[in-house]
């Protein structure tokens, strides 16, 4: 049996502690076990060849230049029971509803601050609160139209939200491509194992973008704005533009005249109504944000404020994915919706609070310390893995700017069996589902499972040696 020598030190997604597939994973676990290690390796090679030929890549920077890397994919899927997923789906809908109300409030009356839920100083020191957005009321009251929230599972088997990405979350194309590769290498599995499909995302996203069009525009011209080929997610930008049948534009393709956005075409300037922008706030518009930006478009925010173009996500949405603000999300859910959070947060220490800071700094090895306003895993220090020098540097940074860091107890991320050089071994993973918010809210079925490919590592970011797995949401069919 393939699983015989397999054991994980924490919760395993596929197998129970006694090495048997979990109920929802039974058919899939048995199937993989029947295939055997050699056949599994040959399917892995087929998958890798497919990824190569398709050109499914992401860009990493090694300091000297950009490398276009093939997307790392492990053929053994991660399986989640559809009933558990139904709860996650509701939990994420709840979360995004609250987050959007919160962002709108911050750029409106700021009732949440007046009522003492969010300390004024947190807002005052937020890097991603954009004064240029005050008073704006985007359609549907939605600011974060596309969100990727990271979920982790601790040793006891419970799921937590680790962070929300409300600015320009990436990864959904890899989720979709992972499925298309799985279907090619395991066609037998998809016939009757109750695996829920993941497609339909692109058409939902397109419908959402169209619904954002300015008043009176019936057939909006929708485009996707990319920073360009050097960006780590350029593949995804192409993929989504192509799936939706919209133009992929770069900043230099756009121009703003009289508060209207136009695309430069061979027949002259053509109006643009909706922009799915994958350029971060900082670089979006040199007129308002980073004046050095070469990848944005001058005047974009002016046009947005004038109501002549819709931006998704709206500028300023990032105020809510500040990791310090994240620590208030359960309170925000209660405040705006009168409900308890369905999916809990990972306990988070606010380091500007002296008592909490003292507790953390005294025992840094027990914590993960994160900069409040970074993404992609940059600047994260895992206490248990850090060198003495790194711990000291971390302590110094916290003391110098406590507002800008949060600490969380180290989560013993769950594992799943992964095909490694040494055989099938447990590797830690997380999950990024994607949430679309417009007139209604939609959560992808499953999401992107990211795997830390190095033994024992807890860092799943693809920019730092992470891989991925397909995520099966499986409906149990009674007798199994």
């Amino acid at each position: 049996m393939l699983w015989k020598s397999y054991s994980s030190e924490t919760f395993d997604e596929l197998l129970t502690a006694d090495g048997r597939p979990r109920p929802a994973a039974k058919a899939i676990g048995d199937y993989i076990s029947r295939l055997g290690a050699d056949e599994l390796r040959s399917r892995q090679r087929a998958a890798t060849a497919e990824i190569r030929a398709e050109g499914i890549t992401f860009v990493v920077s090694d300091g000297r230049g950009n490398l276009d890397r093939e997307w790392p994919f492990d053929v053994i899927p991660r399986v989640i029971d559809s009933q558990e997923w139904a709860r996650v789906d509701r939990g994420l809908q709840q979360r995004l509803e609250a987050l959007n109300l919160f962002i709108g409030d911050l750029y409106g009356q700021q009732q949440v601050v007046k009522d003492g839920i969010l300390p004024r100083e947190v807002l005052a020191t937020s890097r991603f609160f954009l004064p240029a957005c005050v008073g704006m009321r985007p359609r549907h009251g939605v600011w974060a139209h596309i969100c990727g929230s990271d979920l982790v599972r601790d040793a006891d088997g419970s799921l937590y939200v680790l962070e929300d990405n409300l600015r320009v979350p990436s990864g959904v194309s890899y989720m979709l491509e992972n499925r298309s590769i799985s279907k090619r290498v395991f066609p037998e599995l998809f016939r009757d194992e109750g695996i829920k499909p993941v497609d339909g995302y692109s058409s939902r996203l397109y419908a959402l973008l169209v619904s954002l069009a300015p008043e009176g525009v019936s057939e909006p011209n929708v485009v996707l704005l990319t920073p360009g080929v050097g960006n780590s997610a350029y593949f995804e930008h192409c993929y989504l533009a192509q799936q939706m049948g919209i133009e992929l534009v770069e900043g230099s393709d756009l121009v703003v005249r009289d508060d209207r956005v136009y695309a430069r075409t061979i027949a002259g300037l053509q109006p643009v109504d909706v922009i799915y922008r994958r350029v971060g706030d900082d670089f979006l518009d040199p007129e308002v944000f980073n004046p050095e930006s070469l990848i944005g478009c001058r005047g974009l925010v002016r046009a947005w404020r004038a109501g002549n173009v819709a931006l998704a996500n709206a500028p300023g949405a990032g105020v809510a994915d500040d990791k310090l603000v994240y620590s208030y999300v359960p309170d925000l859910i209660r405040y705006y919706l009168g409900e308890d959070a369905i999916i809990p947060n990972v306990p988070t220490f606010r380091l500007f609070d002296e008592n909490q800071r003292r507790e953390v700094v005294a025992d840094l090895r027990r914590f993960v310390v994160k900069p409040a306003n970074e993404s992609g895993g940059y600047g994260v220090v895992v206490g248990s893995k850090a060198s003495d020098a790194e711990i000291e540097a971390c302590r110094a940074s916290i003391e110098a700017d406590p507002r800008n860091f949060v600490a969380q107890p180290i989560v013993h991320l769950s594992t799943a069996p992964t095909l490694c050089d040494e055989g099938i071994a447990p590797r830690h993973l997380d999950l990024r589902p994607f949430v679309l918010s417009g007139a209604e809210t939609y959560v992808t079925r499953g999401g992107l499972t990211r795997v830390a490919l190095r033994r024992g590592s807890l860092v799943v970011n693809s920019s730092q040696g992470g891989g991925s797995k397909d995520t099966f949401i499986v409906e149990q069919t009674g007798g199994g």
């Binding site: 320009v168 011209n221 080929v229 960006n231 780590s232 230099s252 670089f283 050095e292």
Partner: protein, 336 residues
């Protein structure tokens, strides 16, 4: 609506693909000639190297084939065969939505195969790789013909192809005429060299079919320069460019510039051919500059721009401009 930048990508993809194909064909033909001509008498390889953008040194004379292959596979040199495929691939990457999806599935593996090729591989393997370039290009052309909308994007792709074809045909023809065809008669291997010329521009079969066994300067030029029904001729390329231009908005300047490239004057001698080629090359280059100015110029060039590279290859200097700030922003400017 066709973005200026996409028009530009399609155009340069057409150019670079054609360039890769023409280089592959020229090398294959050259190797054929070399095998038929013993010893040190195989001339012209320096010119071939120049076509790929590099002037050879003294030491390279000892093993010209190895040198040429090295140049072909030099990815740092944007005018090498590999550099051209790389540029074509980059342009396709930025304009995938415009072309049938099969194009990527043909071009990407082709590039990866060639990039992985060992320059020291045995001749048979190299030949196979070069033939692979020709085959894949035909496959790409098939995808385009069978699956692409006949819209402005199609016109720009084709114009790129034809501009490069005309340009390369004139360059290859003058090189071969200059070096492979000796003046006077009765020179040994004359037939072999003629065949080399014709093969290097993909005209051998057609020529045989039309003129049978005879080989002659005038009939060859008739075919290569003036025969409008022959798809690799100069006249055909210019005619197609003019047709594709006709459907585009605001085309008056570019149309006039390409009309001036039509081959009209008869070429009787070798030296006349060289003069004629230089003149037409200059006009084509001028006309393509007008085309670029008309349709592409609204977007400032970026470091990845096919245009920057292509200009570099025409100058035979692989100086690709980099803008550190812009590069950094493109990497980190977005995305979690």
């Amino acid at each position: 609506m066709l973005l200026c930048r996409l028009a530009e990508n399609a155009y340069w993809m057409g150019r670079y693909l054609e360039r890769a194909e023409d280089l592959a064909r020229a090398i294959l033909a050259y190797e054929q000639v070399r095998l038929d001509i013993p010893g040190q008498r195989a001339p012209g390889w320096q010119r071939l190297a120049a076509l790929a953008g590099v002037e050879p040194g003294e030491a390279d004379a000892l093993d010209p084939t190895a040198f040429v292959v090295r140049v072909i596979l030099d990815r740092k040199n944007p005018s090498s065969l590999l550099g051209s495929l790389q540029a074509a691939r980059e342009n396709l990457r930025r304009s995938r939505s415009l072309l049938p999806s099969e194009c990527w599935h043909t071009l990407n593996p082709l590039y990866l195969r060639l990039a992985a090729l060992d320059p020291a591989a045995p001749p048979a393997e190299l030949r196979e790789a070069l033939e692979g370039v020709l085959a894949s290009n035909r496959e790409l052309a098939g995808h385009v013909t069978a699956g692409m909308l006949r819209d402005a994007g199609y016109a720009f792709l084709r114009m790129g192809t034809h501009v490069e074809r005309a340009d390369m045909m004139l360059r290859v023809a003058t090189i071969v005429a200059d070096t492979l065809i000796p003046p006077g008669h009765g020179t040994p291997f004359e037939d072999v060299r003629w065949m080399g010329l014709l093969k290097s521009v993909g005209a051998y079969g057609t020529y045989r079919h039309r003129y049978h066994a005879a080989t002659g300067f005038r009939s060859a030029l008739e075919l290569l320069l003036y025969e409008r029904t022959f798809p690799r001729s100069l006249a055909h390329a210019i005619q197609e460019i003019e047709r594709d231009l006709a459907g585009l908005p605001g085309n008056a300047d570019a149309a006039a510039a390409f009309a001036a490239c039509r081959p009209t004057r008869a070429v009787e001698t070798r030296s006349a051919l060289a003069r004629f080629a230089d003149e037409v090359l200059a006009r084509i280059s001028q006309a393509s500059a007008v085309l670029e100015r008309t349709y592409f110029s609204s977007a400032p060039p970026s470091p990845e721009d096919g245009r920057a590279r292509h200009v570099a290859h025409k100058r035979h200097a692989p100086a690709v401009e980099t803008r550190a700030i812009g590069e950094h922003q493109k990497r980190r400017g977005a995305d979690a």
